[in-house]
Symmetry: C3
Subunit: 390 residues, 3 copies
């Protein structure tokens, strides 16, 4: 184990990394070396944890979280990653704060960062806003550090925005590496990122966007499938195509779940709201148009119902490679007959793959810890070496 960990450590391209003092907002803003380093450090942390060893880095320090949407697992993952590194979480509850006073983002970001090592933000409700807000925070942190207000430049982690969900997609990637043995082995593997039916409405687009925006970089054959009208952000779709070409993979779009499942090594069936609906919703929300919102929700649910056959079930799974593709989900899934009458996945398929979905989720704390570690520890290689020696 020790030897294996040392090999992983040595295989990281330390000279090419550009993490320290940076942000982790969109995976496609990070180099391949950066992504690989994140995966590898997460793997080392996870191995240490399995051995009951601590990978604490800091004696004291703060991790600030800002959740602008409900969250269980990401909140827990961020808190446990922070704790594992030796940081205490301060959660900015905007209801209990004075933010409403018209305070600027620049000011809030500085006021919450004097002793802070990392800031994690979830802001995924409004199209065009979450990532923009995170960029403003990033600029404020740069400014505060350059002006000397902040003695250290905190890392900034996107815990889900309107565009990407990098802690999820990187955990998914870690799970795929585990499943297929290595990152290299992903080449040529076929993954179906498909829409699935849910009796709910307004689910963010960041997971499917994150998946196609990340996995196309590793030579995978990514098929995006959704009913007509459930488009993702056009920029991300375009990017996915370009990345697939560059990496020697494929990126295809279809409007048939069955077609996407055909021969797939991996399936990722997950509901989301159409981009156009999310845009309209964002506008109505900003206008405070309650009636419009209720109507839009009714329309959205009715639109969804037309595609209730988009369920991942035994017959669809039979279409996949040898009938045993890996089923993935960011959880919680809408399970037919369990959490809803009819949903994204049949109870049988979900239960068969349940332990794998739990494993998939279990990578998240280690991924967040790795991101934070690489952004905030000035000499990460030496730190890891001394960790592995103990």
């Amino acid at each position: 184990m020790q030897k294996e960990m040392n090999e992983i450590l040595t295989s990281i391209r330390w000279n090419e990394l550009d993490h320290y003092g940076r942000n982790f907002l969109l995976t496609w803003e990070k180099s391949r070396a950066d992504l690989e380093a994140t995966l590898k450090v997460a793997e080392i942390f996870r191995a240490l944890h399995r051995q009951g060893k601590s990978f604490r880095q800091f004696d004291t320090g703060i991790a600030v979280s800002i959740f602008r949407d409900k969250s269980t697992r990401t909140r827990y993952s961020f808190a446990s990653a922070a704790d594992a590194l030796g940081l205490s979480v301060v959660d900015l509850d905007e209801e209990k704060s004075q933010i409403a006073h018209g305070e600027t983002v620049r000011e809030t970001a500085n006021m919450l960062s004097f002793l802070t090592r990392v800031v994690g933000i979830r802001d995924d409700l409004y199209i065009g806003q979450g990532n923009t807000y995170m960029q403003q925070v990033a600029e404020a942190l740069d400014l505060g550090f350059s002006e000397g207000t902040l003695h250290q430049r905190p890392g900034l982690v996107n815990l889900q925005c309107d565009i990407d969900h990098p802690t999820q997609s990187m955990s998914d990637l870690a799970m795929l590496c585990r499943h297929f043995g290595s990152l290299e082995n992903l080449k040529g593997k076929k993954i179906a990122m498909t829409w699935a039916y849910s009796p709910s409405y307004g689910k963010p687009l960041s997971v499917p966007q994150g998946i196609i925006g990340l996995l196309t970089r590793f030579g995978m054959e990514v098929t995006l499938a959704h009913p007509e009208g459930y488009d993702l952000l056009p920029e991300v779709v375009t990017l996915a195509g370009q990345q697939a070409e560059a990496s020697g993979g494929k990126f295809e779009l279809t409007h048939s779940m069955e077609e996407a499942f055909q021969g797939a090594d991996v399936v990722y069936p997950k509901s989301w709201a159409p981009f156009a609906v999310m845009q309209k919703r964002t506008r109505l929300l900003s206008e405070g148009d309650r009636r419009g919102l209720t109507e839009l929700e009714q329309e959205g649910l009715a639109q969804n119902r037309q595609f209730s056959s988009w369920e991942c079930n035994e017959s669809k799974m039979a279409l996949t490679k040898n009938g045993r593709a890996l089923y993935m989900h960011c959880l919680p899934a809408d399970i037919s007959g369990v959490s809803c009458e009819q949903g994204e996945v049949s109870a049988g398929v979900f239960e068969q793959y349940r332990p794998q979905t739990y494993l998939e989720a279990s990578y998240k704390p280690f991924i967040i810890a790795a991101m934070t570690f690489l952004m905030t520890v000035p000499n990460p290689k030496n730190q890891l070496m001394s960790l592995l020696k103990t």
Copy 2:
């Protein structure tokens, strides 16, 4: 002190313990050896704390709390016990989480346990539900550990359910050991666990049930007193009788507060709602019957008012052994003329025993720390030995 602590440590029947990787849900599910070990470890931790010494066990790690009812002291006790062992608390606020999505208990329990050492749950509002929920969480943790999702099996502590309140009753037991000098000395001591009047309604039954379910095991003469119609869970009453017989103690039931106080060494006057009312309330809550609930509350308060003479006051205390029984309460008490017009205890009696009630409460953090320690540290004896050496 050092020597005394070492004697306590040596007196623990280490070979008989069955704590590691287990839960602490109902005291009557634990062996006498387990209960004694918990008391003794708590005593060692408390002694270390008095000396200003740390009994930290973990470098990092998470303690998850789930409070389904309001709490001040238990919330604080859990948090300070966690901190004392080196753990950071993540509180699952179900309103801020995605639990409402129809997620299963199994899934939530796993998602919140990747780096978790202990889970504490308060769920005491609904008859038939709190303990059931905790058992589901326990099974989920077993499953997650056996499937490899969890690298360690977190301990699970009942912070009050519909049946028992073991962190309270064990703190009470610690207080009794202190008061009478030892666990052995409790034999033959008479304790009156009696209902008392309160102008509020719907108080849980877990404290009186916890007391009769625990103290009957140590040869005490336990008298349960309440007005007719204020019965406890029949199973627990039956169990208390059986345990008293087995331990050489007594268990009696009376409908007179005075009779119970007669010659008592200890009195524990405390309000609770009748079991039948709690059952009806649970049903109305599940049906969302607001009108029914309001009517039930009015009935409950009116019923209570018939028994407003059930107050622990100077004249009742005069009936106890030498007129100076120990007065106990889990706090906060409804104090006549202080927190309400007329309540469970007169201001004079409460003030006389106030410092003792505070001491009684002060054991809780150490009890919770001891439970957690024994459930999560693989070699507790060695750990304590090295703690005592420093």
Copy 3:
């Protein structure tokens, strides 16, 4: 740096200090030696932090916070100070607690202090109540410690009450020492603590009271300026006058912002509600008179609007010494054209001094850590000496 820090340490008048086991409620209850020691320890902690060094003091322990008003920066400052010393924060959310049961302050204070090192309280909404509440908590902590319920006497820090805001005023004082080079250099410097217009209502008086109550002790020439009718607490105004006389400074009152700015070295323009309005508001709140409160708010806002010319802008700044007085604010400021149409300060002036206001705020975590350190560490000098050696 090392040498400089050692000189600061040696310059503290250790024998005159009376911090240990005490409270920090009002700056004027503390001796000059105590205030200087707080500033100096904060400076040492800040220097260590800039060097990336920990000043952790405790292995484990709890810091309890009680916020009875919204807060972002003070909440963060308290949490990060606690963490830096090695303490975990338990926040008493009175809505989630059982406080409403009519529990006494004495009881709550004890129940939350068994393993607690410091308690921080914000209670600034009601005239005549915040400081009174803190005094009750202080007495309860003394009692609990003397009765043996508490094994250690937690420190108590006023995080803003109706009378003073000492963590703010001490941070401001630290900023002034930095700006003018030393505490000694403050002698004869002129500061204008002036009211400023804000389109909001009901802002506490504790900041201006804290400033005049602290800075008059160091030989500064303090001018308090506000429109007629916006008086502060008479006792504090009287005290400021006495202190100025004793310290060889000046304390003057004017109703002209321009007059106060004339030749000032420092300006502190900040809105507050008139004392009389706050008193009326406190009464209406206790009576639950919603209509009266709405009317009072309308009156207050209308009264404010008469003084909308009380804005700190370029032309007013031109009146100050060499036109470049230091602009101070406790933040968040009401910035004209940024956070409101017209407010306390013009956008140009604020932006010019923004980095300084951020620096001013950045002292707060170190000030709170220093207060806590001096109240809770029995041998602070030795502790600091060993910190500086590492």
